[in-house]
Every structure is written in C-alpha cells, then in structure tokens.
Symmetry: C2
Subunit: 355 residues, 2 copies
C-alpha cells in the first residue's frame, strides 16, 4: 500500500463537476488496489479572484508544491473577461511554480468511436499517439521588439531545454510502443538543427532501445491527417506542438475524451482535460467527465507510477463508452454523474477481471 497526496483544483464553470468525477475515480482505484489517496481541494482561477483577489493564492501554491500530483478542472469564463486579473494567469502561475516544461497530449480513436472523426474511419480507427510538447521556450517566450514599421520575435532553445523534454518523450515511449517521432524544421532553422542534434545525442547515449525518427513540421501536419496510425510518441518544440496538438485534438471528432498532463523534472505533474470551463452548462450535471478521467489515468501512469491501475481505469472508461453510457456531447443521454458512477463501477469490475 502506497500513500499519495493529491491536490484538486476544481476551478470555474464545469471544473468542479469534472474534478469531482476525477476524485471519485481516484478514490475507487485507492479502494480497489489498496492505496491511500489523501485529497486537498484548493482555489485557482476565477473563483480565487472572486474570493481572495488572486488567481493563484499562496496556499494553493504551497499545497501544489507539496503534492504528489495535481488535478485541475478548468479555469475562466466570460464573467472575468473585463476584469484586470485573469483566471488563466492562475494556470500559467501553477505551471511556472511547479517547473512544468513538458505538455503531454494523448490522442486515441477507439474503433467504436471512429465514426465521429472528420477523417475516414479506415484512416483513423485505432490511432493512438502521445504528443510531447515543450512548454516554456521557443518563439512564444522569446524577446520581442516593435517599432512603428517592424516587429521581431526571437526563438531560443538551449541544449538543456531540449534534453529534458526529449527525456520525457523517450521515457513515455518505453511505457507505450517504444517509438519517438521528433518534429522540427531542421532543413531551414537553427533552433531546429540544435533540436535534432540534441535529440540524436540523447538517443544514442541513453535511449538507443527506443526507435527514433525525425519529421519536418509541415510533413508532420500532413501525416497526422493521412496516416495517424503510424505514430506513437511525437516530440516537438513549443509552437509546433501548439499547432500539431490542436490539429490532433480534432481527429477523434470530440474533445470530450481527451486529457492532458504537464510534467516537470521530478515526475510531479498537473493533469487536466483539454476542454474549457463551459460556463453555459455548469451546474447542470451535463459536463462530460471523460477528459478528466483520462487525465487521471495519465496521473496514475506518469506521476504515481501505477501503470496497472492506469490500465484498469483505461479499460473502465472504454467499457463505459462501449456500453453507450455517454453524455449529450457524445450523442448520449447520461448525466455527468451517471458516467462518473459507471466508470467507478467498471473500475471494480475490470480490477476483478484483471486479478
């Protein structure tokens, strides 16, 4: 039996509902597999601005830094659009404080769900990839200049920044199908040549058991649409990762099934669904908890090293989808709490099956 300290940041809109579903899944996993999860709920985003005038209060920060992993619901909403402090600042602050430099975005299309995809079913059915995006460097965080007639942005990468995120990708590949596709534009830009050299060196020195290939960003955009099944882990710098992970996110035909993780060098991480706070349906028990449950599965696997438990949760989620217990956004009639409860029940069933 292991003990884990989990901080939950429910946030705004549908955040509390989906975070609650995540907590129930963790409690059930703890119960079934004999782990001791302790939970602390803290404020972030709009609710924190409203309550203590700070999107990322100091006690939230202290709790996150002391936790084994953090689960976030969602932040933001039109309510805070015209306010000086923005809910999204809470998200940037927690990422920065926890030193999170790798964003993990899995995308998979179960055969039973391929009909939802904008792609033809035979192309996308069974696709299962993980995009590992560098989160703190590159053009988005570079020096900028501006005059009346010109503007510049600088893209900067260091060997160390590339190495640490590449390490995350290689480690993730070892837990998956053992293949990394590293994306760059090394035929044109210098930061991409540094990127490719660094990835190659690290691969040769420490990860030669993992299959490594390189792809140019423009080719990769094409591959995601024409042969998404050919990829396992996709490693990429910040801006290319922004574009490619958003492109990949539309392939399942619904973002309601997608989770994400942001990791630092300690293995601790922040887990959240990729959907937003959807204030229009908040409090109505309509929100789809599946993206959060997939995020919890990632937490089990990447921060808590509980891969059997993660497999069980994945199987439970898949079973509930197959049984057609789906929220409105997926064409079903179930409430969010019905889906959440069904997954918890399936965790118990799948654990017995697996045992």
């Amino acid at each position: 039996m292991s003990a884990f300290k989990i901080v939950i940041l429910p946030g705004d809109g549908i955040g509390p509902e989906v975070a609650g579903a995540g907590r129930l899944a963790l409690e059930t996993v703890g119960d079934v597999f004999g782990h001791d999860f302790t939970f602390e709920e803290k404020m972030i985003g709009g609710i924190a601005i409203d309550t203590v005038d700070d999107p990322y209060p100091a006690d939230t920060d202290a709790a996150c830094l002391a936790a084994d992993a953090v689960l976030l619901g969602a932040v933001g909403g039109p309510k805070w659009d015209l306010k000086p402090k923005r809910p999204e600042q809470g998200l940037l602050a927690v990422r920065k404080s926890m030193g999170l430099f790798a964003n993990l975005r899995p995308m998979d299309v179960a055969p039973s769900q391929a009909f939802r995809s904008p792609l033809k079913e035979d192309i996308v059915s069974g696709a299962d990839m993980l995009i590992v995006r560098e989160l703190t460097g590159g053009l988005y965080f570079g020096k900028r200049t501006r005059t009346e007639t010109t503007a510049t942005d600088e893209c900067l990468y260091t060997v160390e920044e590339v190495e640490r995120v590449a390490r995350v990708a290689f480690e993730a590949a070892r837990k998956r199908r053992n293949k990394v596709t590293s994306v760059d534009k090394a035929n044109v830009i210098e930061t991409s040549r540094l990127w490719r050299e660094t990835v190659n060196k690290l691969h040769a020195a420490e990860y030669s058991d993992v299959e490594l290939e390189h792809a140019l960003v423009d080719s990769m955009a094409m591959h995601l649409v024409t042969r998404p099944k050919d990829f396992d882990v996709i490693l990429t710098e910040n801006m290319f990762g922004d574009i490619l992970s958003d492109l990949a996110s539309v392939l399942p035909g619904s973002i309601g099934l997608l989770g994400s993780a942001s990791l630092g060098s300690t293995g601790k991480g922040l887990y959240e669904p990729i959907h937003g706070s959807a204030p229009d349906i908040a409090g109505k028990d309509l929100a789809n908890p599946m993206g959060t449950l997939k995020s919890v599965s990632m937490m089990l696997r990447h921060s808590l090293n509980l891969s059997k438990e993660a497999d069980t949760l994945d199987a439970a989620i898949e079973a509930v989808i197959k049984a057609g217990i789906l929220t409105r956004d997926l064409g079903g009639t179930a409430s969010g709490s019905q889906v959440s409860k069904a997954v918890a029940d399936q965790i118990r069933i799948q654990a017995n099956v697996a045992a």
Copy 2:
C-alpha cells in the same frame, strides 16, 4: 487580340512532359480566344547544371525577367543529390530575381473527387480555398545564432512586407468569393500583432468591400480538417503558410490536381505544379499533367488577366476528370498525353458552350 510572352522552364524528371501539356493548353486557349502566345523554353535546375554548370543560367534569368509569365515543370532528382550545385537553387534564384513574395496555393475538392480525400466526404466535398503565403520573410529568412549549447532564429516582419502580400490576398478574394481569413498568433507573438494591425488597416483603407476575419494558426489547423468549406482566401506569413498549405494539400487525396503560383508586385509570376520531378516515371508518359494545367489556369487569371479563358480551362479540366480520363495516380489508365489532348479538346468544346 493580345500578345503574351511566356517562358517555359521544363526542368528535370517529368518536368518536360507536364510543361509540354501546359504549353498545349496555352496554345489551344490562344487559338480559340484569338491571343498570340509566344513561347521560349529555357533551362533550369539539374539539366542546367549538367549543361552549363549553373542551376539558373543568365539567359534563363534574362528571359524570365522579360516574360509576361513563367511556367515551370519541376526541378531536382537523386542524380544531383551528391553534387555541389543543387537543382533547387535554380528555383530559389528565379523567385528572388523576379521578386516573387506571394505564394498562391489553391485547394479544391470537386464533389466527384471527394471519395479520394482522407476526410469524410460531407466535410470536404465542394471545398474551394486559396492559401496566400508570404514567401520571403519571417523565421525562415531571419538572423540565426548558434553556440555549443544554444541556438536562436529571428522572425522579422515589416509593415511593407505584410501590406504587399495582404494586397495580393484581397485582390484574389475579389476574383473569388470575396472573403479573406488572415492567420496569425497575435495573442502571443509581436510579429503577429504587426501582421494583424497591418491587415486591418489595409482592409479599412482599401478593401472594406472584402469580408475579413482573423484566425489563430492553431485554430486554423483544426478548421482545415473540421470545416474546410468555410474558407475562401487564407492569408498567412511564411512559416504558418508552409505548414497550412502542406496540410491543405493532402485534403484532395492526391497532389496530382494541385497547381501553384508565385507572384511579385508587377503581376508577373511563376507557375508550377506542387508535385516534384518524379524521376522514376520520367519519360514514360505516365505523369499527370493536371497540376500543371491548373497552374496554367492560375497564370491566365492572375498574370494575364484572362479570367474567361481561365474559367474555360477550369471547366475543361473538370470535364475530363468527370469523363474519367485519368492517369494511374488517380486510378485511371490514360497516358499523360491522352489527358493533355483531352483537355485541349475540351477547351474548344467548353469555349463554344460558353460562347
């Protein structure tokens, strides 16, 4: 009757075959509509390296600068992979000498061809867009630095560079469905804020009759896959345009039907299919001339201001596709010259229909 000087650069591999098809189409258009096209064939790329040891000989340059428009077949091939001079240098040289700063990449999916697309037919059938990409600035041409442990690339844009390519997009929109979607990342980078401000100012001052919307590059990548029919002209800077035009190019399911243009400020331009030199099938009359014929249609429209003639050629191409006169790459059995001849015949038929 108008007179036009056309330079043809057949180039390497299948280049001469497809360029020949382009010439036949122009000759037929001239014959039917009473225009006087004169043709000059010049060397570029690998053949020019082999013959005069220069991928872009001076007399080719002089002819291109004196021409009303230039039609290029294709350059390059493995034969020159290990040579010091590269065929592709010819392409960069002609673009630079002619001052070509706007790359136009149309993408359309006729309903009869939607079955080829990786996208579901209802999503893509009838899509018809034109991507206008800035071709000489941004990260790909910026200052670079490199040390053992760091690398940088600079992205620079000036108001003048943005204005001149935006003008091409607005003018093209007026000849199409009168809508421009300008792509940037203005929520994060400075060059994108300059881009958006400049596009907005030019729109207000000179093109307020054209509908203008803005999209972030990551969102645009998603839109291309989920709702490609919603776009007419897409305007974007160099690197975003590289990624998005390649992404768009896979939507028809074959690159054999796609042409392109590169334009400067005088209206003169370079026209070429987007496919490569395909040396493996060169000289066998298997190459699909349709990408070149679409490029010729763009030449008629954008450089020669012959829109009725362009419409006729487009209709001729569509009629030949509908009749199933297709090369192997499109699942047909016709030779390249059979397709070329069929389009020429259809130009005569369509011109009479239209008259």
